[in-house]
């Protein structure tokens, strides 16, 4: 669920600028570090009165928001703004550079050892909910994320600045001509995104008690995965994606390979359905009426259903017919994909009894990221895509 807060920031910046703010993870870490530093400096402990403690925590929250926002603004000004209008990879490169710089600065300022926050009762307090003990903090994180999600959705949908954000995202030049101050809008987006990351940093720190300087890299990537999973640029999507990713990670590690193999088999069935039924049906729609003979339809179906043989034959022999040759190469690709899935399932079945070790946990997020980007880059809830041709 923590991913949700960071993912929201990713999604905000991406939604407006169409650019992956790689340094977002580091901004999150800064939030955590600054709040821990504040708490340590104030010397909080359980012996303090509730009011003082609340005050201290509020101060820490302030720090956790203020520092990331300042850093976010500086970064935007120095490293991103000059690159506006360049190709997609230039800002990304710059963002990677920024990410490295921030990480090293954290080490220089706070040292390479993880920063620990003072142990507090609130942080570890737990309540019993439906017979399961749940940490209050966990509940708080869920509530805060949900509230922020609703607030952000409202902000983007129904306010003036939200409208400006959407316009900037659609077409910066046109928005500018219509009198929208795109620079201010972007700065505002960065403020909101960085503040979210900062709050995330504070909550992670309180939940786990400590934070390491390079935490941002992994958290950032996972949050990015969550954002993509839900459909980047989509605010409820980010939260949904974070939930799905969190579940996959938690339950993924204890799953045995046999189960995953069955999942792959399900994928294989879906793949075969696509190859045998859906795609050929779709193809048949393209035949012009005067060519729609039963014989021709059967040939197209054959290319898909008996792919290896017919498709190769068609590819080698009949290059003249566009529809057939396109279908054939398409069919070959689908077959290769299905064979790949079948092989994966087979390998997993052979090692069926083995369980996924916790060591593989970081891999899960990366695999999810790769799979989602390969097969459905628009995510579960869809990305608002406006590519101009």
């Amino acid at each position: 669920m923590i991913y949700a807060l960071i993912a929201l920031g990713y999604t905000m910046v991406y939604g407006v600028l169409k650019f992956i703010n790689f340094a977002h993870g580091e901004i999150f870490t800064i939030g955590g570090y600054v709040s821990a530093f504040t708490l340590l400096a104030l010397g909080v402990s359980d012996s303090m009165s509730f009011a003082t403690l609340a005050g201290c925590l509020l101060l820490a929250l302030l720090g956790a928001v203020a520092a990331p926002v300042i850093v976010g603004l500086v970064v935007e000004r120095v490293a991103y703004r000059p690159l506006r209008g360049r190709s997609r990879i230039m800002p990304l490169l710059s963002a990677i550079g920024v990410s490295i710089v921030l990480q090293q600065l954290i080490i220089l300022i706070f040292g390479p050892t993880p920063i620990t926050m003072p142990t507090l009762k609130i942080a570890s307090a737990a309540v019993s909910l439906f017979g399961v003990r749940v940490r209050v903090l966990a509940l708080a994180i869920i509530v805060i994320s949900a509230l922020l999600m609703v607030a952000l959705s409202y902000l983007v949908r129904s306010t003036r600045i939200g409208k400006a954000m959407r316009a900037t995202s659609q077409d910066m030049e046109a928005a500018e001509m219509m009198g929208i101050e795109t620079d201010k809008t972007i700065v505002f987006t960065f403020i909101v995104g960085s503040a979210l990351a900062g709050i995330g940093g504070l909550l992670v720190l309180m939940y786990y008690g400590s934070l390491k300087f390079d935490a941002g890299f992994l958290y950032g990537l996972k949050a990015f995965t969550a954002a993509v999973l839900g459909g980047i640029g989509n605010i409820p999507g980010a939260v949904l994606g974070a939930l799905v990713l969190g579940m996959t990670e938690t339950y993924g590690v204890s799953m045995d390979l046999g189960l995953i193999a069955w999942l792959v088999v399900a994928g294989l069935v879906a793949g075969l359905y696509v190859q045998m039924v859906r795609v050929p049906r779709h193809r048949l729609l393209h035949i012009a009426n005067d060519r729609r003979t039963p014989d021709y339809e059967r040939r197209i179906m054959n290319v898909y259903r008996l792919a290896p043989y017919h498709a190769v034959k068609t590819l080698l022999g009949e290059r003249t017919d566009a529809l057939l040759s396109v279908s054939a190469s398409h069919a070959v690709r689908l077959t290769v994909g299905n064979i790949f899935l079948a092989a994966t399932a087979a390998i997993f079945f052979i090692n069926g009894s083995a369980r996924i070790d916790t060591r593989w946990q970081p891999v899960i997020a990366f695999v999810v990221l790769m799979v989602i980007l390969m097969f459905r880059p628009s995510g579960i809830l869809g990305e608002h895509i406006t590519e101009k041709v």
Partner: protein
């Protein structure tokens, strides 16, 4: 003063490019002589070998990043493929001792296979997504290496990799037993830094030559066209998927080749050498030198690999603290280069760094279109 700089600059540009290039190669070739004359320490030759190895790697990355315009953030994974292939097939781990010639080819092929598997499904992705997917791929490869100790010894790495014998162990042994003079038979085993230096230098020179041939050819132009404008490129008859795959295959083969040399040279390899930061460093080399410029990326690699050593020697800083500053400088270099001088230190001739520039007439047209649209809307309302 201004006139003076002008004169100096024009004097520099008057000298043809090839003079500089030849001079650079000659200097590089003479470098070990300084060592033989006891003017520099052997440690510097080692720095030279690593710099050149990274130059080879940067040349490979430049193909996909500079020429084809696809950002690969997991490039070090292909280097790892090459290094581990060589290490596994020529070490006590499985007691296999394949000859050098076979291994260097097999390593490149394994890396190519990796490139093929990752490239096939991902190359149609947009640039920034592709970058992230390759990053994830690189991390998956590294974590797999760490997590499968039966094959790779996990985090401990593989030790005791064979010495590099260009003619293969069998032939070398037979020749040596045939009673060759000591000096000659020593040359049959490449184990001294100087010998490695020349081996890698030749590889870099050869790579630079072949790749610059490629640059001004049909394939190179197709890559450049895809980088500049994919839509226009496919409309000019370029099969985007095939050309991109070709670019990935070639660049991963070079990385595999370099990885193989690295395994021989360092004798020990472990997953630490293949972390994400290493990928970023190679990216940094390409950006610093100039994307798409062959002399540029070689220079970038040498500067970034050798310079930190120079600084460390002179500053005498402690290792951990030094690492922090080194990475800090890398980060600053990337940002500064991208923002201030995107064409790099030694730019490719034509790089102007601006994909889109506003043309007043074009702006006028946009405005006109907007106006038309608005008018259309009003019509609809009426």
């Amino acid at each position: 003063m201004a006139a003076f700089t002008q004169t100096v600059r024009s004097a520099f540009t008057k000298v043809p490019r090839w003079v500089y290039l030849t001079a650079a190669w000659v200097l590089a070739a003479l470098f070990p002589v300084l060592n033989a004359l006891d003017l520099v320490q052997t440690a510097w030759i080692r720095v030279g070998v690593l710099s050149l190895l990274f130059a080879l790697l940067a040349l490979g990355l430049n193909i996909i990043m500079g020429e084809t315009g696809l950002l690969n953030l997991g490039y070090i994974a292909f280097f790892a493929f090459g290094a581990y292939t060589t290490a596994l097939l020529s070490s006590p781990k499985f007691d296999l001792h394949w000859p050098f010639a076979a291994l260097i080819v097999v390593s490149a092929l394994v890396a190519m296979l990796g490139g093929f598997l990752i490239g096939l499904p991902t190359l149609r992705l947009r640039g920034d997504y592709l970058a992230i997917v390759t990053l994830a791929f690189g991390e998956i490869v590294r974590l797999t290496i760490v997590n499968v100790p039966t094959l790779t010894n996990g985090p401990n790495g593989i030790t005791g990799i064979d010495f590099l014998k260009p003619l293969g162990p069998g032939v070398t042994a037979r020749l040596q037993s045939a009673g060759l003079p000591q000096a000659v038979s020593n040359l049959l085993t490449i184990d001294k830094p100087t010998e490695y230096y020349y081996l890698v230098l030749v590889c870099v020179a050869l790579g630079a030559l072949l790749l610059s041939n490629l640059k001004n050819s049909r394939v190179g132009r197709a890559w450049n066209a895809l980088r500049e404008d994919e839509l226009a490129a496919v409309s000019s008859g370029i099969t985007a998927s095939r050309m991109k795959l070709l670019s990935v295959l070639l660049s991963s083969a070079i990385a595999g080749f370099a990885g193989s040399l690295y395994a021989y040279y360092s004798n020990v390899i472990s997953p630490e050498s293949f972390i994400f930061m290493q990928s970023v460093i190679v990216v940094c080399m390409v950006v610093l030198g100039g994307m798409g410029s062959i002399p540029g990326v070689i220079l970038g690699a040498i500067v970034l690999q050798a310079l930190p050593q120079v600084i460390r020697e002179s500053a005498g800083a402690a290792r951990s603290e030094f690492e922090v500053y080194r990475m800090l400088v890398f980060g600053v270099i990337i940002v500064a280069m991208v923002v201030l001088r995107p064409e790099g230190l030694l730019p490719d001739k034509l790089w102007r760094g601006q994909a889109h520039e506003a043309d007043p007439r074009e702006l006028e047209r946009t405005r006109q279109t907007l106006f038309d649209l608005e008018e259309g809307e009003q019509d609809l309302e009426a």
